[in-house]
Symmetry: C2
Subunit: 148 residues, 2 copies
C-alpha cells in the first residue's frame, strides 16, 4: 500500500516530472525535493530547451529548494530522482548537505556511484532501486524513439 508520505509516493511525483521531460523531447529525468513531508521543489531535465548542460533535474531542484527555504543548505531534505545523479549533481548535493538521496534507476555510465559514495556529504544517506523498472522503461522508450 502506498501511503501519502511514503518514498513511493514521492518517487511517483518525480516520475511525473520525468514524463514532462519526455513531452518536451528532453532526456526523461525528474526530481522532487521533500522537506517535512512536503514537496518544496520539483524539476525535470531541461538541458535541451535551455541549451545548458548544467540544467539537470537535480540542479534545478536544488536551486528551487534553496530559494523556497531562503537558505542554501538543504539539511533535513530528501531528493527523489528517477535516475542516479551524475558527478556534477552529486557535487551540488554535497555542497547542499542534503540529508537523503533516493534514486530509481542506476546510471552505470555517468552515475556518481562509480566513485563510491564519497562524492556525497558524509552525512547523506542513499537509497536506490525504488521504481527502477518504471524509470528504465521511460528512458529506454525515449532513446528507442530517438534512434528510429
Amino acid at each position: 500500500m502506498m501511503t501519502t508520505f511514503s518514498d513511493e509516493f514521492f518517487m511517483k511525483e518525480a516520475m511525473k516530472e520525468a514524463e514532462k521531460a519526455t513531452n518536451e523531447d528532453e532526456v526523461p529525468v525528474g526530481a522532487v525535493i521533500v522537506s517535512n513531508n512536503r514537496i518544496i521543489a520539483r524539476a525535470h531535465n531541461m538541458t535541451e530547451c535551455l541549451s545548458d548542460v548544467t540544467a539537470h533535474a537535480e540542479m534545478l531542484a536544488v536551486t528551487a529548494a534553496a530559494n523556497f527555504l531562503g537558505g542554501k543548505y538543504l539539511e533535513g531534505c530528501t531528493l527523489y530522482v528517477t535516475l542516479e545523479p551524475c558527478v556534477m549533481c552529486a557535487g551540488a548535493l554535497h555542497h547542499a548537505h542534503i540529508e537523503r538521496v533516493v534514486f530509481a534507476a542506476e546510471d552505470t555510465k555517468r552515475g556518481f556511484m562509480r566513485y563510491g559514495t564519497g562524492l556525497l556529504h558524509p552525512k547523506t544517506t542513499i537509497s536506490s532501486g525504488l521504481m527502477e523498472k518504471e524509470s528504465n522503461a521511460i528512458l529506454l522508450s525515449f532513446f528507442q524513439k530517438k534512434r528510429n
Copy 2:
C-alpha cells in the same frame, strides 16, 4: 612579457572577477571562458548572494558561454579559473566538452584532482599553477578577514 592573448592575460581577467567576489563578501573565485581569443563569458562566485550552492563561478560561466554561443557544447573553448574546480564544476565541464581548463591555485580539500583527471572529458587538457600565488593571497586574505 604578457601578450594580449596569453594565458596570463586571461587569468588576470579571471582574477578581476575574483576581486569582484571579494567586494561582495563572496569567497573570491573568478572565471572567464575564451573562444577564439575572445572572452565570451565572465563570472564570479555568487553562492551567498543567490543563496545557491550551484552558483560557483565556473557554473555561471558555463551557462553564460553556452548562451553566447547558442549551443550547450563548449568545444574549442578554454576556461580560466582562479581556483581548482570542485567535483560539481568538473562534472559540468565534462558535460560541456570544454577543450581546455587552466586553473591557478590548487584546492586540496575540494578540488576535482583528488579523483585524478577522470572527472573531465578525455579530450580536455588541463594546466595549473599560473598566478597561483596571487590567487592564494586573495583567498587567504578573505578567510583571515572572516575569522577576525
